[in-house]
Amino acid sequence: MFTAVGFSQSTASASAAATIFTPISITKAVGDDMNFGTLASSGSGGTCVLAADAVGTRTPSAGITLMGGTPQAATFTVTGIAGQSYAITLPSAATTVSDGAATPHTMTIDSWTSDYTGTITGGSITLHVGATLNIGALQEAGVYTTANSGGSGDFTVTVNYN
């Protein structure tokens, strides 16, 4: 003989909800790297400021001559929730470019800037990043990149939702 006494069962219900939001992302297309173009140094050296804009505006200091090339700010695409505010983190330290020679000649890049506006308008925006190139006196001629031996490697830009 069985009894139900002591085995009484009770139930309760609860609702569950989950919101899946669009993750923020940042990408850079091939060919959208930062390019200071072609420059000529002098006996005193100097700097070249590359603006964070769509046309690659360069501002040389005394002692530096702009010589053409294809200057451009680095261009990234940030996607996420339309209208959502976000934060950007640029490199806090200098990056080094090298000519890749057996005994590498180098230059540093610092003072990073961007045309960050704070909001992912329309769910996808274009972000430009500029910086300042520091050129030595009588800097050795050559093509300098962060990827060459003696360079510090690529620079990193980080974004995050606020």
């Binding site: 993750p23 923020i24 992302s25 940042i26 990408t27 850079k28 959208d32 790297d33 930062m34 390019n35 200071f36 173009g37 072609t38 420059l39 000529a40 140094s41 002098s42 006996g43 070249c48 001559t65 010589m67 090339g69 680095a74 990234f76 990056t95 470019v97 230059m107 890049i109 990043v129 910086a131 190139l133 050129i135 009588l138 800097q139 050795e140 001629a141 050559g142 093509v143 300098y144 990149t145 962060t146 990827a147 690529d154 620079f155 990193t156 830009v157 980080t158 974004v159 995050n160 939702y161």
Partner: protein
Amino acid sequence: MKRLLRNYLSLLILFMCAVADVFPQTSATGHVIAEIIPVFTATETSQLNFGRFAPGPEGGKIILNPQGSVSVLGSVYKGTGMHNAACFYVTGDQDASFSITLPDKPVILKHLNSPKTMMLTNGSQYRRLAPVQAAFRTDLRQYMLGQH
């Protein structure tokens, strides 16, 4: 039961904090490229030299062309001795174009032991496509002789 619920909520909060802290952040990397070309230099290898001459009573001009030839106008008489145009040795990026700018104002030459002067004028400018390490002569070519 309450204990289970409390543990469950704690785990949920921890999970949400972890997700909020890590998940949304994302990064991208980029190269930096710059090209440096050789410094442009111009070094004088030969000074502008009109050589020896004798002024006549009316004064005149000595014209020294970029090829180093001298001719005279007015009462000036060529003497013997060396004369040559100034020569500069130019270095720069191969096949780069460049320009030169000559003095746009007269240059006054002063006599060492007297207040007398002579005036150097008519510099002009020309442009050419220059291979690297091209040498060229100036186009400073006219010399005006004052009254003596």
